[in-house]
Symmetry: C4
Subunit: 200 residues, 4 copies
């Protein structure tokens, strides 16, 4: 019940974040050639990347909360903290896209990704502490190797931004691809228990 | 449970897409005559068409997920992929409307419809594979004739755009009308089983 | 189940409509005196009126669907049709407010209210037909006097717009006040049955 | 049921309010230096403050409705009244941020906070009246000291705005910090009853 409402609020915020980013794709006025869209290409590429990232966060959030059994005030605030950093994704996406992947915007994009990753890590930690190290959830999260590697790659991307923004972009794409491979750990741990909905 | 949250997220995204399109209807400043709205007419017509399309997708999505019994990581990503193409509808609607159905915007509008249709087809395929060819869902979807004809008409519309944008528009309207006739297949298959909610 | 998802989608759309209207209250740049807000006063007044109207529609929609037992494709489309007209409320609110209740925008505002009222009437009719004249819902809706008077007042308001926009505004306020008095009919009919949630 | 839909609608509105505020952080066009973001700093600071406030309202709303057992038309309208004042938060946040915490915008920001606090107080009162002074909810809310102190601090902040906007800002931050400490009253009262979800 309590959990359902946190999920509903998070779904709402994530749905709005993923959708208002498209408002940065500003319709060119009285410009009806395909070539008029060329300046929008970097904005569109950064839109795809950010859409994938918000989708990944929604997906991981979904799995984490699916396995969660109880909530607390601390978990609620850790969740809002994650949503705060994700709410900045449309801004940094627009800044990076409209400036054609210039160094500072590309670095700031990585910073927001890094801070969101740290917020997710805090949220996961708060949930794990509440469930104990023997819980199904703790076994499902396991060593969380992806979660530990991602911040390092973000950091490398941020530093690369001032040398080669495209290399930074490649780092961000790499992390996204790493996560797009569905995270089967929680699914598998749940499947073994035979809980309802455990196949999803 | 898992299914409910995918539905909730999809409902959120579709609700935002269908509503932010109206922001393209920009209020004319200090222009208070009805005639000041005349330039907005093509934007309004394209808004009606896109509203109908998003409504159709929501309706079909609703029926498809209503009959679905289990989810998977693949289904989640196929669903996000569909939402991605639909999230571009406000942009192409605005571009087409503000340029008075010029060839390139009208063709691009059709391309986004075509890609959304292919994404829906992929999603439906992923769900069907999970449920098996003997499932209620597979019998309900059946031969899916509308789903096979639509992409062909979109393609015809895209090609027509450069000859006569109005012909292309007529093609898009035709597909919308074809789908606005309520899809009774799934409703009927469900009704025969006497499942709860099967009348809807 | 099916009903829940129509409610969720409608809640999403109505929540977005009621909230994006505030975007018409454009922040005056580099103008930090209270007097700089004076030009926003008509926009703010029309915002209050439209917020009340969307709230009334949400409230009535809530009661209508609360008493509803089954859905159908027709009900879904009648619901989308209502949402379509309500989605135009932010546009006409902005146009009326930014032009200081000029005749044409004030008349158009009334037209959208009238069309939304007719769409609600159609939706209610579709639901009643499905439930039969003996149903709890039919008894609860009863003679629906408010629903029959409102369109007449809207029409009077639209005609007044060209004589005195303030008189038209008064007509719209009158209808809103008439509905703001909570509609106890459905609540009472439900309360008599002792259904769960029937006090709300 | 009835309660669930009020929660869903409120979650939707609060999710949109908290997210559209980020649209005030306007992407600087063709300005790709970190220093180009400096003018956005006051907008960003006011965004953080407002994000915290909307989060606090969502959190308190969540606890209040969690303990609520029945609804009524009056509660619904009291809830919409609260959402109305909160819907103005993005506007006053933008006005305060873009004018670098000038006196009038800072005072107006406090007024909206004060009116939202009074609307929350009205909503809480309407819910308490319906549940009676012996109810779990009444015991959980208790003396509501925070709720009584907050309006006084807002008022002090509003008056300070014309002397020192930064002092006013400090007052608003103080109230936010006071509420960010999780409100354990309702959690504890629920925990003692052993109700499901009572740990959250």
């Amino acid at each position: 019940m309590s959990k359902n409402r946190i999920e509903a609020f998070s779904d709402g915020v994530l749905a709005i974040i993923i959708t208002i980013m498209v408002l940065e794709l500003k319709v060119p006025d009285h410009a009806a050639q395909l070539s008029d869209l060329r300046p929008l290409l970097p904005v569109f590429l950064s839109y795809i990347l950010s859409f994938a990232y918000v989708g990944i966060y929604w997906n991981n959030h979904h799995h984490l909360f699916h396995a969660m059994e109880t909530t607390s005030g601390g978990i609620m605030w850790a969740n809002l903290h994650l949503l705060f950093w994700l709410s900045l994704v449309p801004f940094v996406t627009g800044w990076m896209g409209e400036n054609d992947f210039a160094p500072a915007p590309t670095a700031l994009y990585g910073c927001v990704l890094l801070l969101a990753a740290m917020a997710y890590w805090t949220l996961q930690g708060a949930i794990l502490r509440r469930h104990g190290s023997d819980s199904l959830l703790a076994r499902a999260v396991g060593k969380d190797i992806k979660g530990k590697i991602s911040p390092a790659i973000y950091l490398a991307g941020i530093l690369c931004s001032f040398l080669s923004p495209w290399l930074a972009g490649a780092a961000y794409v790499l992390v996204a691809l790493m996560w797009l491979v569905p995270d089967r750990r929680i699914e598998h741990a749940l499947a073994r228990t035979g809980l309802p909905g455990s196949r999803g």
